[in-house]
């Protein structure tokens, strides 16, 4: 079983602050994806990381894949209220399994 643990489960910050959330596993993944989900909607893909140590940037979001391809982090710089949502990591080894998510609330 590919177990993905995300931490912290819930995070509330003020607009303009920075934050980092984590996704950890004991399994090695061929790829790892991050999604964001808003209430009443399905998850929307943000990024896929494939290579150990890879860093990808999406505007103010920075994603890093661990060297051993077992963990990942998401860093948001100068968070805005529009960043509020449930951030989900998912690992892909022939089946797409999700973590429980990081609920992020950005207060104006």
């Amino acid at each position: 079983t590919q177990l993905l643990e995300q931490s912290p489960q819930f995070l509330s910050i003020q607009e303009g602050e920075n934050l980092t959330v984590y996704c950890n596993s004991s399994s090695v993944f061929s790829s790892l994806q991050w999604y964001r989900q808003e209430p009443g909607e399905g998850p929307v893909l943000l990024v896929t990381v494939v290579t150990g140590g890879e860093v990808k940037k999406l505007k103010r979001l920075t994603f890093q894949f661990g060297d051993a391809r077992k963990d990942s982090s998401l860093h948001i710089t100068a968070a805005q209220p529009g960043d509020t949502g449930l951030y989900l990591c998912a690992g892909g080894n022939n089946r797409l399994a999700f973590g429980k998510g990081n609920q992020v609330v950005v207060i104006p």
């Binding site: 399905g42 929307v44 896929t48 989900l88 022939n94 089946r95 797409l96 399994a97 998510g101």
Partner: protein, 114 residues
Amino acid sequence: EAGVAQSPRYKIIEKRQSVAFWCNPISGHATLYWYQQILGQGPKLLIQFQNNGVVDDSQLPKDRFSAERLKGVDSTLKIQPAKLEDSAVYLCASSFRGPGTEAFFGQGTRLTVV
């Protein structure tokens, strides 16, 4: 390009009744997933199809849940009989590049069992 279509959006049923959900994936996507998402948690994979064949159904409660994907396109997920703990959002997703790769989700069906 049209996204993943699911229906209905909402469904309320009494326990022990049956219910069915429908999903139409993005055209050309061979991989189709059904997930169950309970409030406050991440999606839990129920079943995964590659074309019309089942790749993984290890977490599908087979005594009450069933799914099919005829002709490798549309899919239906059925629950019979429903229990209170089946109340959740049922998400369908599809993937072009194969199992474990980027998935595109529908809006989901919110099921309430009373």
